[in-house]
Amino acid sequence: MNEAILELKRQIIEVLNLEDISPEDIDENAPLFGGGLGLDSIDALELIVLMEKNYGIKLQDPAEGKAVFKSVAVMANYIEKNRTK
């Protein structure tokens, strides 16, 4: 597994408090929302905070967030291109 994707999965598990779920359980190409993880709008907020705090990326346009949080792989790709720290 790509190291960046693995690290992102670990961070998601931590901030969303996904007990019983290991990085291997998360399919990086599966939808983050509306899929098996059962994430909701508060999780989206947590992910926005994660992006800004850990990578210095500010997501202000909700439409942009919807595209960025499509899957872990898409999220990791976006971080790679836009991170400031």
Binding site: L16, D20, L45, E46
Partner: protein, 343 residues
């Protein structure tokens, strides 16, 4: 008008003793350290991991004790959910405040904020059980639980409700314990408490009857005696009918001795019981005191570990137990429990 009679239909606890059972009556767990966190059951037996991930530890405990008494009493949707908590969800409050400091009040995580309010506990129970009735939280330090119980009794007396889920829930964080030490507090041990009671008007299968409750602020000894007399008279009892008095003596001689003096003035030679040496002290400890008394009445025996004086005569088949609480010599409470079996 006949008084509405109120019974404890079910009660359980998560504390520093074995959770969700009464094993402490036969095999109490002894501790030598001053700060102890609760022994937790397997929460997954009650709450799914996906649901649990946004629920703090105190809320999990409160929800678990609540679901247990709901199950035991078969009252799925109580007419009232009333919670007493001194500190509320202090663990999440601390997380939120630490984030505020470290992030310069800028990047704040939503989950600790959502979980940081005192009334999160009661509202979570309501949402989880789909119970959209009277829902109130009392936060008045050591008498939070008494206030919640008093409210429930008033609602029963006014015949507004036939059932109430009353809880007493508090957690203790390391930083709060450090603050307690700094101000010289010495309740030994300091611990956590989560107790739920299902009160109903149904006598059958109940643990005991809740005879009444008095809360007094800075009373004189005369006022305390009058209130005690009124509580007994309302229940057709005399002082000699009380089998035992259970108090919140916590091992701190500076506060225990004056409490015992008042107890002697009020109750004379009635056997004295204590419970904080088993369950620890917290803002919700009085809930465990009442729970202990209810256990004695349900099982019709008083465990030897509850007697304050080793020389005390064994109480057989207790019928009436009085809870006597005091906090900082300002707030006093009297709660009468009566056996609902036999007589």
């Amino acid at each position: 008008m006949n008084r509405q009679r109120v019974y404890i239909q079910a009660t359980t606890q998560i504390s520093i003793q074995s959770p969700l059972n009464e094993n402490w009556m036969q095999n109490p767990i002894q501790y030598e350290r001053p700060f102890i966190r609760s022994i937790e059951p397997n929460f997954r037996d009650f709450i799914s991991p996906i649901e649990a991930r946004r629920i703090g530890r105190l809320q999990k405990r409160a929800l678990t004790t609540s679901l247990t008494v709901i199950h035991q009493s078969k009252v799925e949707h109580p007419d009232a959910i009333i919670t007493g908590t001194g500190l509320g969800c202090i663990e999440n409050t601390e997380l939120f405040l630490k984030d505020m400091c470290s992030q310069g009040e800028y990047l704040l995580k939503p989950t600790p904020f959502i979980q940081s309010t005192h009334n999160t506990i009661s509202s979570l129970i309501a949402i989880y059980t789909q119970t959209h009735n009277y829902n109130v939280t009392y936060s008045h330090r050591n008498i939070s639980f008494e206030c919640a119980l008093y409210d429930a009794m008033l609602q029963f007396r006014l015949q507004k409700i036939n059932s109430a889920l009353v809880g007493s829930h508090d957690e203790l964080t390391p930083s709060w314990y450090e603050l307690l030490k700094k101000v010289g507090y010495s309740g030994n041990p300091s611990a956590e408490a989560s107790v739920s009671f299902m009160l109903t008007t149904e006598r059958n299968n109940s643990w005991c009857e809740l005879g009444g409750i008095k809360i007094l602020h800075q009373p004189s000894i005369e006022i305390l005696k009058l209130s005690l007399g009124k509580l007994l008279t309302d229940n057709g009892l005399n002082l000699s009918d009380i089998d035992a008095v259970i108090t919140g003596i916590n091992g701190n001689q500076a506060t225990d001795l004056p409490t015992i003096q008042i107890y002697k003035q009020l109750f004379g030679q009635i056997p004295l019981l204590h419970y904080k040496h088993l369950f620890g002290d917290s803002y919700s400890a009085s809930g465990l005191g009442l729970y202990s008394a209810a256990c004695c009445l349900k099982y019709q025996f008083v465990p030897s570990t509850l007697y304050y004086m080793e020389t005390e005569d064994q109480i057989d088949n207790p019928q009436n137990i009085m809870f006597f609480g005091q906090s900082d010599y300002k707030d006093y409470s009297l709660i009468l429990l009566k056996s609902s079996c036999g007589k």
